[in-house]
Symmetry: C2
Subunit: 636 residues, 2 copies
């Protein structure tokens, strides 16, 4: 489709100025695809009388990672980070947090978009911005993609606009312009047995039905992809890095209906056909993914059920409208899905396999770090992409490896200052035997999920690099070895990891820890260790990352990350206690440590940890790597 | 008034058993005053058809400390700590937090009352308890003292009971039985000048009126006594330790009406008469305290004003009913009083005087600690009360001293394990040259308020005493020397003070820090450093205590407390920073410190602090005390 752009529209886009900052010479500016697409969308908005378009950056399931089909903001603006977009005739804004500030400063000029910082003091949220922008402009119409926008988020916009605004939800809103938009993904579906996950799908469905009965509810609609995968013990590969299946799950006392696939089950690959058969034997009916909307509208008649539970944080606006239509006879009860918490507390089988996954992953990591150091120091040309590929190669040797749990961040020097740096496929920076290299990566295994960051000195480091390296490690260690009373929430111990940085007036703009799934999403709720006032207590069996960092733009970035399992630590007169068991097995390089900045208990933790890594992994490593690891793990 | 108690009622009181725990011999139980009073109240409840009576333990202003008139729970049960009471025909429960658990275990058996722990996991609040208790009992009637019960709290009970219950508010509910109840206090009222507090009352009233205009409101009713004292720059002594005046303040655009005193102003002492004249010149009308209710009812006509702002957390239920009557034409807007935050952020004059107050207070403290140590070690008989009296004597020498800011806790040995130990007037325990003595005290001065706890070794200490002493001090120091980003709330750094204790599986059941007034209440909001999810950021100019502790029942108690002033600490690429300036000036005894438990930065803080204390105070101390202090403050 060829686009014709009027001069008026171009002026509307940039207010008569070229995109980007003022210092960019006029002649450098070219009419790129993104500028054309934005202009076309603005044309569509004018035609329909929409004053603003809001894109959530998510998919119909409020997923954090989305398939290429749902990367609408990337298609429209070229911005590759996480974020939300608001487009009006005179403004294209992208809302994102500090992880992406540097990336945004590089990519937003492409489309003339403006960065709106989130999670900062004085933050102006999208609903607030729209409310301020629309003030005094008369009736204000906001359009959203009703499929790819969460019901809660749309509700916030509606509330913020009040009587002065209207919000229209249109499914697949950009489809008429995005002619080569990818299809809904459709990857093979596998099932996991009780011996792999500890709890069968019939047990999980029974638990869910008991939960419904206790609340006098007839049905629950699960909309978050990882919750569905957990409940049904299924895995797919529909979203990069997340082993999930694009689907909805409706559970009632008598039925469990899985809305999945565009085609019929018998069109599918044999693995999927087998999976569907197994599910059918457990009483799960398979229906077409696209039928969910009509099915819910039918339920709203109130004939078969009279009440349904939904989680508006992952239900999309379109389905919410189908259920909460004013003619609906259903009692719609909203809240946090019970699956979130249950899934976060790992059972004994899951814990045992997660330990196993970290042992295997640690072997790959040590082989990788050995290869990297020896290659770089011997003068072999290695770039960031080579390193990521090599790490993939080592992980691929592990039986049950199913791919990375997120895109590997392989970042040398100043690139590591971007906490979510995307290593280019082509032309990535070369790694030299000097300064720090950061690698944040993880694997998906049939028996678990890993997430690890190591920042390693590949040669001489400056005193400030070493100080930063040590203070981040100090924060990491302080959290890893912390004891805390049962009932403590993440925001109440976040400062434990930050205090060493704060006391030297350094900080990092992301959370200290996130929950992680069992062969599922690398980020999962409800546990978070960060500054926000999340009241969720850290429960025994939850797994969290511990990943403080320091980022100096244009210089270097440092992050040290292990996964920690929360465990009970006994009771006494003062409290019932909790502590963490470190799952990750990969040494921390001590050559960049400024020993004086650590106290005796921190040095002991570091030496003990490195010794444990050596003793556990060495027997499984090649003699050359084991020998190298012995030297790397000598006590500080 | 003589009480006749039926056998049925006695059985109703104790369910046929004697009060206290089962091990108490039957013959030790005597029908004391409290048992008689409870029986009489139960009789009244039966007469009126009240199923439960709830006493808030507070006064008509939701004050934390109350005059003897409002100590209804003490009169009824003999329990002297803070708490709330629920009385039914078969249960007398007292709800209180861990500060009072040990005290409650001693005092509750007196009246056969049962302890309900608050601020503990699984806490059952009074509304929840009432809701559970009343379930299945048919229509349930709860009576509250409408004057001495906050509107918010009553609202929570009403919500919890739902349709199954009714709540009656009766002012002075116990008056018919409590025949010798004290009068409403009436102490001399003084005024403070701008040179003393930095901001005149006309400035404060203008600020309050601007605040009203910005919100399109006509009036605000101030009900918290310290907010009124702050706004009018007045002080009294109506409540022990709190220099406040029993009153209400109604501010409109044109008027400021102070409801105060039972009698007419011209009946008063000359100081008060002068104060009233000064206030009148600033446009403040004086009306009778008892007229507030009728005045508010008249306002509800909506003739003079059409909207009013109230803070339901300190407004009593009776006045709330007067305002929010269903016939009321007033728009009643509820929220946190703006005075709370404004009062908490001290201005330059207040900060300068607070520093001065702590210098004076520090001199008294050092004289006291010198006297205590030399007296006890020379074998002179000194008991806890003697010590408290001596400290009072030293403080009394300070010009502008107006009394203690709370009842001095002078506690030796195991008594210190009660965080809020009340030192008996007669027969308090003797202090020996062995183990630890704890003194938590503070002064009210015309130029500030202090609050300090020192725990001092008076002779040999056990290794565990020394370890506890050091870990508490470590937590204290870690908070005192913390740097943190602007915007950080108290619950986000509470762990900084607790971490050294947590890591050795020790903890304390009270908050780490509370706000403090300027020649006002020793506890004030909105700043708190504790585990609860209070979002209030620590702002420059706020003052907080820093008082971690350890309490081992039957053995010892340790608490180290200084007051800290929050100050800005500059900005850099990472954040805008805050830190604390320690206001309190009194050395920490290093002889009980286990040096190995402190890191280098903590030892430096301790040595620097003690040196600063010595250099600042020594020139003002008697040579003998200065010499002693020199030895006490030598570097560790």
């Amino acid at each position: 489709m060829k686009l014709i752009i009027s001069k008026q529209l171009l002026i509307a886009i940039f207010g008569g100025k070229s995109p980007g900052n003022g210092s960019r010479p006029e002649n450098e500016w070219k009419m790129n695809d993104y500028v054309k697409r934005i202009a076309a969308v603005r044309g569509m908005m004018l035609n329909h009388g929409w004053d603003a378009l809001v894109l959530s950056g998510s998919d119909p399931h409020s997923s954090e990672y989305v398939s290429s089909r749902d990367q609408q903001i990337k298609w429209l603006t070229g911005y590759t980070g996480e974020g939300q977009l608001v487009l009006t005739q005179d403004h294209c804004g992208i809302w994102t947090d500090s992880r992406y500030f540097i990336l945004a400063s590089r990519e937003l000029p492409l489309s003339g978009s403006v960065l709106h910082k989130t999670r900062v003091p004085g933050e102006v949220t999208i609903p607030k911005w729209l409310s301020e922008y629309s003030a005094g402009r008369g009736p204000f119409v906001v359009a959203v993609d009703s499929l790819c926008h969460g019901a809660s988020e749309v509700g916030e916009i509606i509330d913020a606009l009040g009587d002065g605004g209207r919000v229209f939800g249109i499914p697949d809103i950009l489809d008429s312009l995005w002619t080569d938009r990818p299809e809904i993904p459709r990857t093979p579906i596998i099932t996991l047995g009780t011996e792999q996950v500890g709890w069968s799908r019939t047990q999980k469905l029974s638990w869910l039905r008991r939960w419904l009965r206790e609340r006098n509810l007839d049905a629950i609609l699960l909309t978050a992809l990882d919750e569905i995968a957990w409940t049904l013990n299924v895995r797919g590969n529909d979203v990069d890095y997340n082993p999930v299946v694009m689907s909805y799950l409706l559970v009632t006392e008598g039925d469990a209906t899985w809305f999945v696939r565009k085609g019929l089950p018998d069109d599918d690959d044999s693995e999927t056909v087998d999976s569907f058969e197994e599910l059918a034997m457990d009483g799960v009916s398979i229906r077409n993914y696209s039928e969910v909307s009509a099915s819910l509208a039918a339920l709203a008649d109130g004939d078969s059920i009279s009440s349904i539970f939904i989680d508006p944080s992952t239900l999309n606006f379109k389905l919410e409208q189908a259920l909460a239509d004013e003619d609906s006879l259903l009692r719609v009860v909203r809240g946090d899905s019970p699956v979130i918490l249950r899934k976060a507390v790992k059972n004994e089988v899951e814990k045992a396999f997660m330990r196993e996954a970290h042992l295997e992953d640690g072997i790959a990591m040590e082989r990788f770090l050995h290869w990297l150091e020896t290659s770089v120091q011997s003068g072999e040309p290695v770039n960031e992409r080579d390193a990521a590929d090599k790490l993939h190669e080592f992980r691929s040797c592990i039986e049950g490896f199913r791919g990375e749990s997120f895109e590997t961040i392989s970042a040398y020097g100043a690139n590591a200052a971007l906490p979510h740096y995307v290593t280019p496929e082509e032309g990535s920076d070369e790694i030299f035997p000097k300064g720090l290299y950061l690698c944040d990566s993880g694997g998906q295994y049939l028996f678990g999920t890993t997430d690890i960051t190591r920042t390693v000195p590949l040669g001489p480091c400056t005193p400030l690099e070493m100080e930063d390296y040590t203070l981040v490690l100090k924060g990491h260690i302080d959290l890893a070895k912390a004891t805390f009373p049962k009932g403590t929430a993440g925001c109440q111990i976040d400062a434990v990891a930050r205090q060493p940085l704060w006391n030297s007036m350094r900080n990092f703009g992301h959370g200290t820890g996130h929950g992680i799934g069992f062969y599922l999403n690398v980020h999962e709720g409800p546990l978070q260790i960060r500054q926000n006032f999340n009241r969720q207590a850290i429960l025994p069996g939850m797994i969290t990352s511990d990943e403080p960092g320091i980022y100096r733009e244009g210089r270097w970035g440092i992050r040290h990350e292990n996964l920690l399992l929360a465990v009970e630590a006994g009771s006494n007169d003062f409290a019932a206690w909790m502590r963490f068991e470190t799952l990750t097995l990969c040494h921390f390089d001590t050559s960049a440590v400024v020993k004086e900045l650590l106290d005796a208990s921190e040095i002991k933790w570091l030496n003990d940890y490195n010794e444990r890594v050596y003793r556990t992994l060495a027997p499984r490593l090649e003699p050359e790597v084991a020998q190298w690891l012995r030297l790397k793990t000598l006590p500080l």
